[in-house]
């Protein structure tokens, strides 16, 4: 392989400078070749929050509570609308809890 300095054979101008540098470095054997699609799953996995326990804890709390808040708001609003006061709130609260757990599952589920 000829040792060209970028120019004509750069893969595409769409890549960022970091990517092109990485590609060039791995081509020259300076770096290990990039692991495929590591960044993608990583950034999707935990919302880029890293592994700090405080961050994860705050995240879990916010996700659980926000789903419940939305569910209670929907249930209470519908109750006010249809004059069925406790029933729909009572129906939506467990749904909200389930939605909170679904949020968490989406965050921490092992990627297949």
């Amino acid at each position: 392989m000829s040792q060209e300095t970028g120019g004509p054979d750069t893969p595409s101008p769409n890549l960022s400078f970091e990517d092109r540098l990485k590609a060039a470095r791995s081509k020259q054997g300076l770096d290990a070749p990039p692991k495929p699609s590591l960044g993608d799953t990583d950034s999707l996995n935990q919302g880029g929050l890293g592994g700090s326990p405080w961050g994860i804890g705050a995240r879990v709390g916010v996700e659980l509570v926000s789903a419940l808040v939305v569910a209670v708001a929907i249930g209470y609003g519908l109750d006010r609308l249809f004059h069925t006061t406790p029933i729909l709130t009572a129906v939506f609260v467990p749904l909200g809890g389930a939605a909170g757990v679904a949020n968490l599952w989406r965050l921490f589920a092992p990627k297949s």
């Binding site: 769409n14 960022s16 400078f17 970091e18 990517d19 960044g39 993608d40 950034s43 999707l44 919302g47 880029g48 929050l49 961050g55 705050a58 995240r59 916010v62 996700e63 509570v65 926000s66 789903a67 808040v69 939305v70 569910a71 929907i74 939506f92 749904l95 909200g96 389930a98 939605a99 909170g100 679904a102 949020n103 989406r106």
Partner: protein, 253 residues
Amino acid sequence: MAAEGSNSIDALGQFQLHSALGPIGASVNFTQSNLMMVIAGLGVLALLWLGMKPRAMVPGRLQAAAEMGYETIMSMCTETIGGHEGRKFFPFVFTLFFFILFGNLLGVFPLFFTFTSHIMVTLALSLLVFVLVTVVGLKEHGLHWFSYFVPQGIPKALAPLMVAIEFISYLSRIISLSVRLFANMMAGHVMLEVFGSFIVMLGGLGLLGYFPAALSLGVNTLLIGFELLVATLQAYVFAILTCIYLHDAVHLH
């Protein structure tokens, strides 16, 4: 601000709005929060304009900062949303990230106000993201977008239940996105205020209070550094979550 002549800590007084810019501001309810938003916006423009003015091959500090911000957000967009669509949403995510980042960082300076510490501001931002994501999803997929609420491979009998849960979960993004930013900023500033009040109150005790007052000053110094970290991290989290939601809207499942 707090504990002036009294022995109580007024930790939340710092979040009170009052009008800025004298009588003109007062007549149109232009608050210091609005003023800080304008300053943050001008700050972002100044960073980009002044930073990119030299157009040097080897960038100076300001140019390096501007370029690094651009590159970071660009790669975040293309990696998370996906190549072509990512570039389409880059301006939006870039604006959002830098507006929040400047709002958070300016709030660390004394006498400045943190507009991201108000739930109304963060809620407006997350509603903007939510509406955009929904509109993008509907535009990309039409009515087929509603299949987003039906998880793949579930029994037919469970579908109504799952749709309700998914719907609530979808709506809860508004709350979780806004509360995360708001709570982090507000908690940090309350902590700063509380330990700042400790310094004043303990210092007023005389000789006995000097050591704990100095300790509080040390804690406050650490908190400022921590606050810088949180300010950047929360802006980043807001931006990347926006990207993830946009990815979901564009690609469905």
